[in-house]
């Protein structure tokens, strides 16, 4: 970046400082925040600064998406690191954690370095690789957790695969603890609901589809939480979908375990009825649950029991989605729509804006130790500028992501990201 930047006349919402006030953001020529808030208004613009009037807009710390699946390496026709980064920029996501589910699986130092190097060369936003907890994500042998951490892996996860073997999990978490690594896991029982493709219940029965009972998530989660308590490791329940899981998390937190949890934006904004007539873009893992579940999860998010919201961006092509529902792959893209979909929770009055931005930016940065999620002076100037009341409709043709499997096709949103800055550089404007 060559010129300083000044964003004037905007509302600044920065959960890292519990700050919500009208003011100015001044960014230095090395891409760092000089000042952000009311007190920045009278400082005057640095010499040669680009000054933008942002009347009516809101600036928040750039979003941090802690769960993004990529196609690179291995399935570049679905998504590359570069294309995902453009989709992220379009959605106000300035940092994301890439999952190790690739071909080959990111379970070696050289592969972590590959992701970092590719991101450094090609990505518009900050890409932080997560490394596999077990070799090949097979759940049998732990990876080189220490060396992977030292190489820059921000957390250990088994990606889409749960770890079924409690002995392996115990040892890996015990070992990870010494390196201060957060272990982020999805929970899905190996047997219960193993052939399920959507939420178990009346709807699945009418559709003639095998169901995934909620217990398939809760039972292994309870098990994992006991192992977290035993090993005293930092455990992150990556994608919970039912209120019983949130209750388990609350109890674990109250008992002093180092436990956090996340939820996919899809489980906060959609429910099983959206599947309609076998629409495979709504085939997700964990599955979309009932409307009662969704409402309860929004409450759990507002209360902080659920710490963060993720897009769980998972690009799938026609080869994996244009299939009978039961045969189609799980997953939906979400980087571009994360902020807009999340703002539904604000507009409906269920989650205050401060808490929402906290869950989308400040909190995930804190959990995974990223230099992000704040507009504090000195921080990297990663900023999303939002027009919170702008109505718009998502058209498939405008999607930046290389894959188009969005569950929000033709959806109406209120509020969109109009400018995205990474280290003070404008990487997206609408």
């Amino acid at each position: 970046m060559t010129r300083p930047l000044v964003l004037q006349n905007l509302r600044i919402v920065d959960p890292s400082r519990s700050l919500d006030e009208n003011g100015t953001i001044i960014v230095t020529d090395d891409g760092r925040i000089l000042a952000a808030g009311k007190d920045a208004q009278n400082q005057g613009a640095p010499a040669g600064a680009v000054v933008k009037d942002c009347a009516g807009l809101i600036a928040v710390p750039g979003l941090v998406d802690a769960r993004v699946f990529l196609g690179e390496p291995g399935s570049e026709h679905r998504e590359t690191i570069e294309s995902a980064s453009r989709a992220a920029a379009a959605g106000g996501v300035t940092s994301f954690i890439s999952m190790p589910d690739a071909e080959p699986v990111i379970d070696e130092i050289a592969l972590v370095e590959f992701v970092q190097k590719t991101a450094r060369d090609k990505a518009l936003v900050n890409v932080y690789p997560a490394a596999a907890l077990t070799k090949g994500l097979l759940g049998k042998e732990m990876t080189e957790i220490g060396l992977l951490r030292d190489a820059g892996a921000v957390c250990l996860t088994n990606g889409r695969q749960p770890v079924h073997d409690t002995l392996v999990l115990r040892r890996a978490m015990t070992y990870a603890r010494e390196f201060g690594a957060v272990v982020a896991l999805e929970t899905r029982d190996k047997y219960l609901g193993a052939n399920g493709v959507m939420n178990e219940g009346l709807l699945a029965s009418w559709l003639g589809l095998p169901g995934v009972p909620r217990e398939a998530e809760i039972i292994p989660l309870e098990r994992d939480l006991r192992i977290a308590a035993l090993t005293k490791a930092a455990y992150h329940a990556a994608k919970i979908s039912v209120p019983e899981s949130a209750a388990c998390i609350r109890v674990a937190k109250e008992s002093g375990s180092s436990v956090t949890s996340g939820i996919s934006i899809n489980n906060l904004t959609l429910n099983e009825n959206d599947i309609g007539e076998y629409r495979t873009f709504f085939k997700l893992s964990p599955p979309l649950r009932t409307e009662d579940d969704r409402v309860a999860m929004v409450e759990a998010l507002a209360s902080g029991t659920i710490d963060i919201i993720v897009s769980s961006h998972d690009p799938q092509d026609v080869d994996t989605k244009r299939l009978p529902f039961a045969d189609a792959a799980d997953g939906a893209i979400g980087l571009e729509t994360l902020a807009a979909a999340a703002l539904r929770l604000y507009h409906s009055g269920h989650v205050p804006l401060m808490r929402l931005i906290d869950a989308l930016s400040t909190r995930p940065a804190a959990i995974f130790g990223l230099d992000a999620g704040t507009l504090k002076p000195g921080a990297r100037a990663d900023i999303a500028v939002i027009d919170i009341d702008e109505p718009w409709v998502l058209h498939k043709e405008t999607l930046v992501s290389r894959s188009k499997n969005t569950p929000f096709e033709n959806a109406r949103f209120t509020g969109r990201v109009v400018q995205t800055y990474v280290a003070g550089e404008l990487v997206h404007s609408a």
Partner: protein
């Protein structure tokens, strides 16, 4: 007359500071014998020693064999392949069979914790535990102590860092007991996956970093990491283990300049210890082997010549 109130040596547990000092003092004498041209004495002449090894161990078995022979005893080796052993029942049966041959001392190595103690209840001679499962290996701890005492002049108030696979190590358990009994400060340095539950209450300060655990140590004692535990089960890989826990010149710098480097053997070079360190000036690994024979001479002489002097413990 020797006053040693034990009939068997089943572990370090139960030995007093006096007991240990007595064994080490006698071992010092035995070192002299081993260094003479005429290495054979007659103190155990006419007595029979049986080495009963259910677990293969060339080094320990030959050390015991040589010790017995230098004391003039008749030594018989019985190696029982582990695969043919049907645990408890066969162990007792074997013991009763051997007992009928009137040995004076049975040296036992077995893969199950408590095996030596079980045998001791069944036979009428002395039993020396040469390693039982992950429980104890008392003569190893004694030879380690002898090596340290001869180099440092004392055991009290020295800092000993025991590094590596403490979880599976009978050597570590015996050493922790002995060194605490003698007033040394014991540290363990290992990834948490290789430490037993409750290690902090076992008389050792716990460290997970070599730099911190070795700081100002007088002795660095490395433990063997078995191959099957290296690849993703207890630790991720040999590469990662050596990187964080393998003893190399860089990590050894944290210890005192004259710190001793020890290893019970057999070593995995490049896994828990770098070759340059194993063969370097601070290494006393070969002395440990020499002290092993001396300590075993001292143990058997003490047990056999002081028999009936105290309670049958």
């Amino acid at each position: 007359m020797i006053t040693f109130p034990h009939r068997h040596l089943l572990g370090i547990k139960g030995l007093t500071e006096q007991d240990i000092t007595l064994l080490l003092d006698r071992a010092d004498e035995a070192v002299k014998i081993s260094r003479q041209r005429e290495k054979k004495t007659s103190s155990l002449r006419g007595l029979t020693q049986i080495n009963l090894f259910f677990e293969a161990s060339t080094r320990t078995q030959s050390s015991f064999e040589l010790a017995g022979k230098r004391l003039g005893a008749d030594v018989m080796n019985m190696s029982v392949g582990n695969s043919s052993v049907k645990k408890g029942e066969t162990l007792i049966d074997t013991a009763m069979t051997l007992n009928a041959m009137h040995p004076d001392v049975l040296v036992v190595r077995h893969s199950s914790a408590g095996a030596a103690s079980l045998l001791a209840q069944k036979v009428s001679c002395s039993v020396v535990n040469a390693g039982d499962g992950q429980h104890e290996h008392p003569t190893q701890a004694l030879l380690d102590a002898l090596t340290i005492r001869r180099a440092k002049g004392k055991l009290s108030r020295i800092i000993v860092a025991i590094c590596g696979d403490v979880l599976h190590s009978r050597v570590a358990r015996s050493n922790i007991l002995l060194l605490n009994q003698m007033g040394a400060r014991v540290r363990v340095v290992a990834p948490a996956t290789l430490l037993p539950a409750g290690i902090a209450e076992m008389g050792a300060e716990v460290y997970h970093s070599m730099a911190e655990g070795l700081k100002d140590a007088d002795v660095v004692m490395m433990l063997r990491l078995q191959r099957e535990r290296m690849a993703g089960s207890f630790v991720p890989s040999v590469r990662e283990y050596f990187h964080y826990y393998g003893l190399d010149a860089e990590k050894l710098k944290a210890a005192k300049d004259d710190a001793l480097v020890m290893h019970p053997g057999p070593m995995n070079r490049g896994v828990e210890i770098a070759s340059e360190i194993a063969d370097g000036p601070q290494s006393v690994i070969e002395q440990q082997v020499e002290m092993g024979v001396a300590v075993r001479m001292a143990v058997m002489e003490t047990l056999l010549l002081s028999q009936n002097q105290g309670p049958r413990v």
